[in-house]
Subunit: 222 residues, 2 copies
């Protein structure tokens, strides 16, 4: 046990998931505010620690603890970190709510289309229906990215200054890294590079990758 | 123009969308806190009012205005209404953040699976790949509902007392009304009935349905 704010993470994931696990969002926020945090790790394919489902009802990563407070959902955790530390959200009311709107938009208006694309292009790629489903979702992914691209325009960040909205959107766009969708929108590609080029992002990603030092799961049936 | 808080809504939708448009969430919140609101309406199949994309970057419904403040994303609007009126969120810190976590969970951990099911069971039902995609997403819908059912247990509401998390989750479950998934989880079916049985929900739904008094779109090519 530790007194530090604690985020759960994996100590092993399959290669395709490296850099995509969502604890990256929380690590990035802590690196931006310059505060230490601790991790509790287990394998992506391992049984969850006893009682984990009470902490994270979907048994996913991350869950978060700060003292007595327990929390799940990356959107909620980012909002908590921003509110607690008075950072990563603009102070001016319209800009603050614009950032919160984009935080939700990343999770609900953009990510689901990306997840669907990933499900058909990668996870279910071998199924006989996957090509049709993938083809049908591609225009949806493009439409969502075009909306974000148009809204972003020439600005550096979604709510003017860097905020939790950008931590969310940049990591949502990471989910498309096996495709060339983002490159179709030059200002969005530049935005993504600007986000992943931040020193705090790099420290967070390095820390996440360094935690993948656990054993691979035993072959099934062994 | 009006000084009242204003939500955008449709004045015409195809039949399958009745009761599913997301402005219902915002109307419900205002009915719960007992405050008036105004609507600005247009047809679901009509061009958006000029400048709407600056207000709602995805050109969806709802967008929201309160005085000078403009906002989009139902999760953000619900959070704004709750914070502004000191209502619909528990006061105790853990319960408050639990409600916020479930607000996000409705939008990101549950709704996307429901949307995918709807996309294959209804929207694309005639496509030759839709049956395979639908079959593949059904276990995901069941898994998500089981998680919510297990977490809810015997409680009436997700964060103990009624909150914006319930406005979100009940309306997310509305999206499965053309299926029998929710009925497979008796405590979830009872929760959904408890939510939609609230007088404020009924007033919100009646108001939404009453606004569908606009003209149907002209047949294409006419």
């Amino acid at each position: 046990m530790t007194d530090l704010p604690t985020v759960t993470a994996f100590d092993w994931v399959p290669d395709f998931a490296k850099g995509l696990v969502r604890d990256l969002r929380v690590r990035w926020a802590f690196e931006e505010v310059g505060l230490p945090y601790a991790t509790e790790t287990f394998g992506a394919a391992s049984p969850r620690p006893e009682g984990y489902v009470q902490w994270q009802p979907f048994e996913q990563v991350p869950a978060f603890r700060d003292g007595e407070l327990e929390l799940f959902e990356t959107g909620a955790i980012l909002l908590y970190v921003a509110e607690k530390h008075g950072s990563l959200l603009p102070e001016e009311e319209q800009a603050r709510w614009q950032a919160i709107a984009w935080l939700f938009a990343g999770l609900n208006s953009v990510e689901p289309a990306c997840t669907r694309y990933f499900a058909y292009a990668v996870f279910n790629a071998g199924k006989d229906w996957a090509a049709g489903a993938k083809e049908a979702v591609e225009p949806l992914v493009r439409q969502k990215l075009k909306r974000v691209s148009d809204a972003l325009g020439e600005r550096d960040w979604l709510a003017g200054e860097f905020s939790i909205a950008d931590i969310m959107m940049v990591t949502v766009l990471n989910g498309l890294k096996s495709s060339s969708f983002v490159a179709e929108f030059p200002n969005l590609a530049a935005y993504h590079a600007r986000g992943t080029g931040r020193p705090a992002y790099k420290r967070a990603l390095d820390a996440q990758l360094a935690d993948f030092d656990g054993p691979a799961p035993a072959p099934q049936g062994a």
